[in-house]
């Protein structure tokens, strides 16, 4: 297998004439690495996964998975991949063990071999207590776990995980993270999608940020954090009427070319500005607002939200 496990070149997909889900995205994923596609609902994450797993045909552009072209060599691609979707793709009538065996046989294992492989995975995923219960009785976390196990029955070279932790409680989410991290050592390349910056940060070697069907940024988590800014200073005035005045006073913190309005978060009734120098910025903000005599309900330093990451990543670079 080549050193590049996944390569997309100008991949585009439109559904009908008006809606275009992907507007030409290009990226590569190195072999045996974990890559996260980060973005909101509708950013094009699932469409990308569906094209790479041969469920959709691209409207334009091309892509290879494990060295095979997704359109011309789709059968070879399917032999090389494992897929888990947003909803657990299991037969509800069967037990966890039966699902594992079924998918083993569908991937060409003989009955005896499939049984042995199911036993191994049940042990490795710590599911012995539930393996012989019907899947319809499983909790969300259990379901996701057996779903990932099913995708690994015949070890794939590339594994697609579409929102593997959406809808899970924090503990189950942590379990899934551990499972994914362990794959790194088994020569499996993982492409996962997520809406959570934290998840992308914890799990992946590289991150691709999608917005409205375009790649708006890519790189390691550290690269992106540097570009996003270390933290934000959030100011909540006692009276929301003061929000515009605060935004105007702090406009220069946001950088040139960013309108004051974009600093205001109306739902939180707060103003947020980048605080690249941490407490120094915090002190300066506090002094200025104190000077204006505005009464504050709260002022704090916090990590950037995904929204701010997008805002920061999608706004044009400032040249002075």
């Amino acid at each position: 297998m080549p050193d590049v496990a996944i390569e997309c070149r100008d991949l585009a997909k439109s559904f009908g004439k008006s809606s275009s889900a992907l507007q030409g995205i290009s990226f590569t994923v190195a072999r045996a690495s974990v890559c996260a596609l980060l973005g909101h609902n509708g950013a094009g994450k699932t469409t990308t996964i569906n094209i790479l797993s041969t469920l959709l045909r691209p409207t334009a552009g091309s892509a290879t998975v494990a060295g095979f072209d997704v359109e011309r060599q789709s059968a070879e691609v399917r032999s090389s991949i494992g897929v888990t979707g947003q909803n657990a793709a299991l037969d509800e009538f069967l037990t966890g063990r039966e699902n594992l065996m079924l998918f083993g046989q569908l991937r060409g294992l003989r009955h005896r071999h499939a049984r042995r492989r199911a036993d191994e995975l049940i042990e490795r995923f710590d599911m012995g207590h539930a393996a012989d219960r019907r899947v319809s009785t499983y909790s969300g976390g259990m379901r996701r776990r057996i779903d990932i196990a099913v995708a690994l029955v015949v070890p794939p070279r590339v594994l697609f995980l579409d929102e593997p932790t959406t809808g899970l409680d924090p503990r189950s989410r942590r379990d899934v993270w551990d499972l994914v991290s362990a794959l790194r050592h088994q020569d499996v390349t993982v492409l996962l999608t997520t809406q959570y910056l934290e998840e992308a940060d914890v799990l992946s070697d590289s991150i691709i940020v999608l917005n409205s069907g375009r790649v708006v940024a890519s790189g390691t988590a550290d690269d992106l954090k540097c570009r996003v800014g270390v933290s934000y200073c959030q100011i909540t005035p006692a009276d929301p009427m003061n929000l515009p005045e605060i935004a105007t006073a702090l406009a220069d913190f946001a950088g040139l070319g960013v309108g004051c309005d974009t600093l205001i978060d109306h739902t939180a009734a707060a103003v947020s500005v980048p605080a690249p120098d941490g407490v120094v910025t915090f002190g300066e903000v506090f002094r200025r607002l104190d000077g204006l005599g505005i009464e504050l309900a709260d002022i704090s330093l916090r990590k950037p939200s995904l929204d701010e990451a997008f805002l920061s990543l999608t706004s044009p670079p400032v040249t002075v």
Binding site: S53, T54, L55, L56, R57, S74, A75, R78, S79, I81, V83, T84, G85, Q86, N87, A88, A89, L90, D91, F93, L94, E98, L102, F103, Q105, L106, R107, G108, R110, V150
Partner: protein, 247 residues
């Protein structure tokens, strides 16, 4: 091949739990008893006893019930994450369809045996000998596969588990009730006559009745064969078309 076997076994083992095979037995038995006990003395079928007359349509109806199950399964396979995952596996796209058809055949055989068994108690006889008996079974199974392919295409297209089998309920009722399967054409109002006489359920049941009775006309056999082959070709094409993997 092992993928086909594994998927068919999956459907069978799921069936043991949702009791579809039990329904496959109960439907022809129940319908036969219902028709015979309720209508047996009301409808004049000439020299033929009513059990001998009505069994073919009971069997045809059981095949139509099987089609409704198939529509339901196809819709489920289209919609569910399970079905989506099947399309990402290194197996030919036609395998899930083939597995559903294999199940459809198994179900058809069970319903056929159950129907003949109960009717035999009430005096139904296969009077035509082995050759006619084999032809009887072949026609029933060909018809079953044809309607199951149609239902499969519909279920795959609609992709809604509730509405696809509901949609088939009405055509199923119309085709069975307005056929010569339950009563001779003379008993229907004149304006319905042509429809009742020439629609496929009438044609097929008449041929089956003739085969069971031991004297079939070439014309009747040809009409039924034509219907079966035409429906197989049309619905088979549609069902295959619906299995295209990528959109």
């Amino acid at each position: 091949m092992s993928a086909l076997a594994a998927l068919t076994l999956r459907t069978l083992s799921g069936t043991l739990r949702d009791a579809d095979l039990l329904f496959a037995v109960l439907a022809p038995v129940g319908c036969f008893l219902g028709f015979t006990l309720a209508l047996g003395n009301l409808i004049d079928t000439g020299q033929m006893t009513y059990p001998q007359y009505v069994l073919p349509v009971v069997i045809v109806q059981a095949m139509l019930f099987g089609a409704m199950t198939t529509a339901d399964r196809a819709a489920r396979d289209r919609l569910s994450g399970f079905g989506v995952r099947l399309r990402t596996l290194p197996i030919p796209a036609v395998v899930p369809l083939a597995a559903r058809m294999l199940y459809c055949l198994i179900r058809a055989v069970i319903a056929l045996v159950a129907g003949i068994a109960v009717a035999s108690v009430f005096g139904f006889r296969m009077a035509g000998g082995v050759g006619y008996g084999v032809l009887f079974v072949v026609i029933v199974l060909a018809f079953a596969i044809a309607v199951c392919l149609g239902a499969d295409a519909l279920g795959s297209r609609i992709g809604s588990v509730e509405s696809s089998s509901q949609l088939l309920l009405l055509p199923q009722l119309v085709l069975v009730l307005l056929s010569t399967g339950m009563a001779p054409a003379e008993l229907f109002p004149g304006w319905l006559g042509p429809f009742v006489r020439y629609q496929p359920v009438s044609q097929v049941t008449e041929t089956l009745r003739a085969l069971a009775g031991g004297h079939v006309t070439v014309a009747s056999l040809a009409a039924t064969m034509a219907w079966c082959i035409a429906l197989l070709a049309l619905f088979g094409g549609l069902a295959l078309h619906m299995q295209r993997r990528t959109r």
